[in-house]
Every structure is written in C-alpha cells, then in structure tokens.
Amino acid sequence: MASNIPTDLRYTRSHEWVRKNADGTVTIGVTDHAQHALGDVVFVETPQAGRVLAAGEACAVVESVKAASDVYAPVAGTVVAANGVLADAPERVNSDPYGDGWLWCLAPGEDAAATALLAPAEYETLVAGGG
C-alpha cells in the first residue's frame, strides 16, 4: 500500500515527521506509514509543555490495538504545546496523521539545526525497503 509522504515535511528513520512553522517552532507527528503499521490507535501520551528534550529522546507514546510504541524527539528543544485533542480522540493519529493528529510542537534548541533529517524522497526509499 502506497504511503502518503507530503513533500513539504522532513522525516526520521523512526517514522516521525517534522514541519517548520513560520514562527520558528516545529510541529511533530508520526507518518502515515507509521499509523498504518500500528493499526487503530487507542491511546496517546504527549510530552508536557516546558519539557526540554534531547534529540532522539523517547518522549511520547502511541498505543494501538497491536502495541505501544515510543515516539522520539526528531530534534532537540523545548516543548511549546502538545495536542490535547488526542486524549479523547486518539484515532486522529490514524485519520489525519499530518493534520489533526499532530503530537507536539517544539521550540528547537541551538544545536537542533545540526540534526540530520530525511528528505521526502529519502524517507520514501526507507519505507519501500521495509523499514
């Protein structure tokens, strides 16, 4: 099944997407491929606003009928906001992974720019390879 991989986002090997916002913050979620592999999401835990994250730190949990999976911070920074809607409507991660199903918003730290993220084409190759 072909995954939806928007061309205006950046990606990680662990299937998070990153969107740069106009105010310098970034929004983070899990990809369409990830939500499809997880199956129906029944619970989401997001990081608290104000929490300082290192790149690669496990900071959110997405639980589906199959498994509970950690979600990792793609870049270092401070959590600005989390998507509170998911507490009552975790299924948004399935229905709209790049929109209403966003997980948290982050103010990137100084060294965040150095973190290597995948371009859409690179992520597509990763997904096609069974990763």
Binding site: M1, A37, D40, V42, F43, A58, E63, V65, K66, A67, A68, S69, P90, E91, G130
Partner: protein, 497 residues
C-alpha cells in the same frame, strides 16, 4: 424478552441474566441463620448476587469452560510464553491436605516439610542457573524483574555510586524490561540489534559508561536466536562497572545445557510458570523467583528459607539487613512454588536436559517444515532456539492478508494463534514456540493448518480476512475493547432491586 435460558451454541447469557428472585441452591445454604450477628454489623442492602439453582450454575460454568481455547484442549504455540503442559502429578502432590491446611503463621517446627521443599527448590534453581542465591518470594515475572533491578540499584548505592541511573536494553527486549527499569527510577537506553539478530556490540560500547547501572537482556533473545556474543557483552558490561541482568523468559531453551551464571550474568528472574511448568491461568498466580551472583546476595528479597542446627528456618530482615525488603505476604505463591518443586523432582537432572533438547528440536522441525511450505523466516540464516519468527510481510503487501488475519483463521482450524506483532522490529510477524511437550503429530497438524491458510490467501483471501468463522464470537472490536473496557455487570435500568 429473549428466553435467556435457551442455549444456541454461541452466545451464553450471563449468570445474572439467569437469576430469579429467591432461587437458591438449597443444599448449599448455611445450616444456621445469621440471627446471632449484631444488627449494626448486618448489611442493609442485599448483595447483588445471582440467584440460580445449583444445576443452572453447574451447566452455565461448564458451557463457558467448553468455549475455552486452552492448553488442555488445543495446541498453544504462543511465542515467549512457553505454554507447556502442566503435569497433573505436580497438581496432585501440591494439593496434599498437609500442604493445603498449613497456616502461614504456624510455628516453623510444624512446617518443616514445606520448608524443606522450598529450601530444596532454592538449591535446585541455583544449580540449574549457576546463581549463588535464590529468593522465591516474587509473585510473578514482572515482580522478579523489579526485585532484580532494585537489587542492582541497592548494590550501586551501597558503594556510594548514585550516578548509575541508566539501564541498557536491546530493542528486541521484552516490554517488561524498560517498564521495570522505569519503575526502579532508572533511565532506559535502547540499543539496536544486527540484521542477524545478535546485539550490536558497537552500539553497546557507545552506550555504556559511568552512568550505566545494568544491562538487561535475555539469551536466547526474543528473536528466537542464541546471542552468540554473550561473552563480549558480559565483558563490556563488567569493564563499565555495570551489572548484567538475565530475563528468564527463555530459560526453557537452555535448561541443563548452559547456565546464565556461567555466561556472566549477575542477577536473573525465573518464570516458574514458563520453564518449570506451573499453570499460567488467566494472568496468575505466577511465580518469578529471583537469583543472584555473590555480589548481590546481601540484597535478596526476604523471606528466604535457611537451614541451621534446629532444621529449616525463615531468614528475614534480621539475617539480611541490606535486603531490598518484602514483595509479598509470607512466601509468594507457595502453591505454585510447590508445583515447580514437584515438576523438577519428577524430571530430574536428565529431564532438564531433555526439556531443552526437545524444545529446540520441536522448534527447528516446525521452522523447517513451515519454510518448506512457503513461509518466510525472519532470520533465515540462524538456527532457531526454542522459538522462531515468521514474517508475513510478503503476504500482507501482495494479498492484503496480515499476521492478525492468519492468527484469527488459525482458530478456525483448532489451533491457538502464536504471538503476533512481537517483537515489533519484525513486520507482520508470528512468534512461534511449540515447547517440548508437543508430539510430532500435533506439530504436523499445525503445519497442515498453516499450509491450508497460505493457499487460501491466494484462492479466497476474504475467507482469511474475515476469520474466525467457526467460533462463538467473530472478529472482536479491539478499539472499543481498549477504549471502553467494561468488565463489571451492572443491573439494567428498571431491573429488580
């Protein structure tokens, strides 16, 4: 109103639906009324208990039991759970009246027989694992793990090394490992596996340091293969000042062959309900004995059974002042411990070796036959230990039939499903563990069912995707079950009060 008493072979009304006011099982009524109880101690409302005849109760529960998919009725290859047969002999001897009637607060002089059994069980578990000391008190595997990591923490703190607050776990670890570390206030550091299933040693070397309290892993690993670089892993952990924790979930594969103590592990838990054949039933009662090497002996949870000139005695906080404490009232699940003891006495030293040999033989036989039938092994170049992983990613991609669909369809063929979607790093996986207690004909029956389902994915994939077809209930609403879990019967509005 629906005639709830009628049995249609599928839906079974609840015992409350069968209830009629005033109906009782006369033979089981208390011989005296409770008139002598002071009024202030009596209930003001009747308890909401079902009122049925004895025969109705017997039939209801017998019918429910007949719907059970269990080790007593079906092949149960649930990977990493070691669903082996629980010998009736163990059950028989553990239920002797002398055991059943013993009060836990009775003087030790009156319970020397029980204490002797528990003492010998401790000794046998030390012998089979290569550990120096064992405590039987943890109530289940998860509590055994908790005890193990709590001892690692106590060890470092006693040396004044409070900076060690990280536990390293491989990505294929049981989910309980990171949970245990977190419960003990540790930070979890995950390291990847190589494509052939062994631990990534370079990643381990990078991960260890002055903050590493311990490394938790199991061998054979959850990928169903023996960790070949275990000696290097032990050396890396030791050089970093970290302790090595063995998750006993897969001990069945190496029983009587290799000992965790000899592999360099400092602490481990044993799932007696897996390896030593005590019942798993409904999530308990479990037994998660914990074993330690010399350095952790002072921290073992109490009580432990000791021996002095007077006979067998309880060892408690006075004997082990540095103990991490108590994890259960008295001595864990004593009835379960007795079953493990009797099982070990029945099979003996030679039997232990046979357990491992036949568990591994059965797994490799099943793997070879399933591969020949067209299934893809997740680690085709590795010999299986006691369990192995198939991946259905090709069937999922080409025919839209998933591991879950296979699991459901297997039920129609009278086979319990293997573990699905674990470990998570293998897409569309089945984790299959036949155990040593299955006959070749049973394994062949499973291969036949798997082969038939594989053929159906081509000829009639809808049949597989909509399974099960022959069970009392069809595909369950997993999402609703997870989000709106409702296990308690409530009186319907307008019902009798």
């Amino acid at each position: 109103m629906k005639d709830v008493g009628e049995y249609d072979g599928a839906g079974e009304a609840t015992i409350f639906d069968r209830s009629r006011p005033g109906r009782t099982a006369t033979a089981q009524l208390a011989p005296e009324t409770l008139a002598s109880l002071p009024p202030e101690l009596r209930r003001r409302r009747r308890p909401e208990l079902p009122e049925v005849s004895e025969l109705q109760a017997v039939r209801h529960y017998t019918r429910l039991s007949q719907k059970n998919f269990s080790i007593d009725t079906q092949f149960y290859p649930l990977g990493s759970c070691t669903m082996k047969y629980n010998p009736r002999g163990s059950n028989h001897y553990a239920m002797l009246p002398e055991f059943l009637s013993r009060h836990p607060l009775a003087p030790v002089s009156m319970g020397q027989g029980l204490l002797a059994c528990l003492y010998e069980l401790q000794q046998m578990l030390c012998e089979v694992t290569g550990m120096e000391g064992v405590s039987l008190t943890p109530m289940a595997g998860a509590q055994g793990e908790f005890a193990g990591v709590a001892m690692i923490r106590a060890f470092h703190r006693a040396r004044g090394d409070a900076a060690r607050n990280e536990i390293i776990v491989p990505e294929a670890a049981h989910g309980t490992n990171p949970a245990t570390a977190t419960m003990c206030g540790m930070k979890v550091v995950e390291i990847p596996c190589n494509p052939d299933g062994d631990c990534d040693l370079e990643a381990l070397r990078r991960a260890v340091g002055v903050n590493t309290a311990g490394v938790m892993l199991t061998n054979p690993s959850t990928l169903g293969v023996f960790e070949r670089s275990i000696s290097e892993i032990a050396a890396i952990a030791r050089q970093a000042g970290a302790l090595l924790y063995y998750d006993g979930a897969n001990l069945n594969a190496i029983l009587g062959k290799v000992r965790p103590g000899d592999m360099g592990f400092d602490v481990m838990h044993m799932n007696l309900h897996k390896t030593f054949s005590t019942p798993h039933g409904g999530g308990g009662p479990g037994a998660g004995a914990v074993g330690v090497g010399r350095r952790l002996l002072p921290y073992l949870p109490v009580p432990i059974v000791g021996r002095d000139a007077t006979g067998y005695v309880w060892l408690d906080e006075r004997d082990l002042p540095e103990t991490i404490g108590r994890l259960s009232a008295f001595m864990g699940n004593v009835g379960v411990l007795l079953r493990a003891y009797i099982y070990m006495r029945m099979i003996g030293r030679d039997g232990m070796r046979r357990v491992a040999e036949y568990a591994v033989l059965n797994a490799n036989y099943l793997l070879a036959r399933l591969r020949r039938a067209g299934f893809e092994a997740a680690y085709p170049d590795r010999r299986a230990s006691h369990e192995f992983i198939l991946t259905l990613k090709r069937e999922a991609a080409e025919r839209g039939v998933t591991a879950m669909d296979f699991a459901k369809r297997l039920l129609d063929f009278g086979q319990h499903a293997p573990t699905v979607y674990f470990p998570q790093l293998v897409p569309e996986c089945l984790l299959i563990e036949p155990t040593e207690t299955e006959a070749k004909e049973t394994l062949d029956g499973f291969v036949a069912a798997m082969t038939a389902i594989l053929a159906e994915t081509v000829t009639d994939p809808e049949r597989v995707k909509t399974a099960p077809h022959r069970l009392p209930v069809r595909r369950l609403d997993d999402v609703r079950a997870a989000k709106h879990l409702d296990l308690v019967w409530k009186r319907p509005p307008g019902g009798d009060s």
